[in-house]
Symmetry: C2
Subunit: 341 residues, 2 copies
């Protein structure tokens, strides 16, 4: 099955012109006679010739590649962002090169490798770590933008990197305040961990602050193993078994996905949603509006987040923009998962 590749040399030989002329045809250069062009194109078509990209990239000094490193393959929240980024990148005349990596991998290292391999002009990180050090960042020598997260713990200087995200802590605060305004006093939180330096931690901190500002005790903090539905289901099911937990009238979940898992566990435990337990979440997946009951959630502007990341990156690439932390607003989408009590 080993096929001997057709090269530019073969095309040149078969069409009776030089390699240079073939190259010109390949790159749509004007300085080729119609006659030569026709011959070369005919040979290319008949041989199924496809230029070797490695060779092209090796010799070319410029490129139009923008890299996108996505951390955490199966996060449904990313899909719309990826599409927005892809279309914005394409609109700007660049090519998006996507790389997915597991949540246990280091996106900076991958980005650095990709930058060289693909001769990237810029990089976007989607869903990355929070604790970059200035040294980490030096391995990336092209402009980059953090999309959907920022560097809240100040391990980077604000003027030294760019990000586009929501205000996680504030958004969580708003979600919890919404529940409080609906009369809830015992509000539980469904998170991954209180101190894992992740989005979960930020949203948890918003939850804590909202409770404190309103003089409320926590209705329980339920931690999951993972961000997925099943993890949320199991954590909630376990919490309901626990006699010390479960005494809450409302739940704040850090993601729609986790809210859906928790909702099922609540029902399986004999609690109705929202009659016995209200639920609010953050993310705003399209799906969440279709389930029963429709989930009340704070929507991230995914489309805008993607486009804004690209806009910022292009500005940096052109040497125009300053580094900045772009904070986008979220929007409450009321479903029927929260009830006034």
């Amino acid at each position: 099955m080993q096929v001997v590749a057709v090269t530019i040399k073969d095309i040149a030989r078969l069409s009776g012109v030089s390699i240079t002329t073939v190259s010109r045809v390949l790159n749509n250069r004007p300085d080729v006679s119609a006659e030569s062009r026709r011959k070369v194109e005919a040979v290319i078509a008949s041989t199924n010739y496809i230029p070797n990209n490695s060779a092209r990239e090796l010799v070319r000094t410029d490129s139009t590649n923008i890299g996108l490193v996505v951390r955490g393959v199966s996060n449904p929240f990313y899909i719309d962002i990826i599409q927005a980024i892809e279309s914005a990148v394409t609109d700007a005349g660049f090519t998006m090169v996507l790389q997915q990596i597991g949540s246990d991998k280091d996106e900076i290292a991958h980005g650095a490798i990709m930058q060289r391999e693909k001769r990237l002009r810029g990089l976007i990180f989607l869903g990355g770590r929070f604790d970059y050090t200035p040294e980490d960042v030096t391995s990336i020598t092209v402009p980059f933008v953090c999309c959907s997260y920022t560097n809240p713990y100040g391990t980077l200087l604000e003027g030294n990197y760019s990000s586009v995200s929501i205000a996680d802590e504030d958004t969580a605060y708003e979600a919890v305040r919404y529940l409080i305004e609906k009369g809830h006093q015992r509000i539980a939180a469904l998170i991954t961990a209180t101190n894992d330096r992740s989005i979960s931690q930020l949203r948890y901190e918003g939850y804590v602050k909202a409770l404190r500002d309103h003089g409320l005790e926590s209705g329980g903090v339920i931690c999951t193993e993972s961000y997925d539905i099943r993890g949320a289901y199991e954590a909630m099911a376990a919490a309901l078994q626990d006699k010390n937990s479960g005494d809450f009238t409302a739940l704040f979940a850090i993601s729609d996905n986790m809210a859906i898992g928790a909702m099922r566990a609540l029902r399986d435990g004999g609690r109705r949603v929202p009659e016995d337990c209200s639920i609010i979440a953050i993310d705003g997946l399209e799906l969440s509006a279709y389930i029963e009951p429709p989930l009340t959630t704070l929507c991230q502007p995914m489309e805008q987040m993607g486009r804004e990341s690209v806009r910022q990156l292009l500005a940096l690439m052109n040497g125009e923009g300053e580094h900045m932390q772009h904070i986008l607003p979220t929007e409450l989408r009321e479903g029927r998962s929260v009830e006034k009590i």
Copy 2:
């Protein structure tokens, strides 16, 4: 921001050895003295040097790349398959190169290009067209496997290509028979089109056959613009407005996603699920088990489908296997979306 790249030559110069020695260190060859290796590694670390992959791939004759072309970016059904493929490919010592393309794009053309650019040893197509011609296929000169679909209309000879999929028509038949066994007589179908040569058409044919075999009339065929939730919602909502439609006690949806959209539209139209309308679908998304009511669906063995595709591909690559159409079984997962009447 234009950074002059560090090359192997610089590393050689800075560490006082030849380029070859650096190359040996890079490729973990044994024939380098500990001393040289140490020096080279130190220089590499201090310069953040990353080998230029284009140059490596250009000169290498072999590669360990297997390409995966995914058609239709946002299909949630693919995510588990992709992960299964990735892990199987990695386990076999190969690297998976993923490329997503829109449903309006031609995966064969992309695969052909990718094959050359990435020096692929094999290709897997996930979610492709049904109507390949033998000529289309000639542009792919490495072994390939069609995953999740096959070539049911016989435009290819069976012994000339490989595929791993479910029996779409039979599975749809089974779904509809399940509804019939539950006492339903007026069963509607939610599909994209009756004759678009897609999975939708195959499943529609299974629906038609099941009705015919049981002497039933169709309860209505509802066609959507697209495979997504919203498209299904709108199509169903429109059907319910139509006085001539809507006279069904059960719905067969060709995908979980579409079932979820339809379920919402039914409820918004004042119908309870399953009391007023039962629903069954095909796919078996994890999510579908968590919604209310849990969706009754015929699960595709996504994990197995991915692994089997890789197994078949590796066999072809080794010149061992024969071309074959692998048909995997589906499994009924009963939720509570179907009621006996």
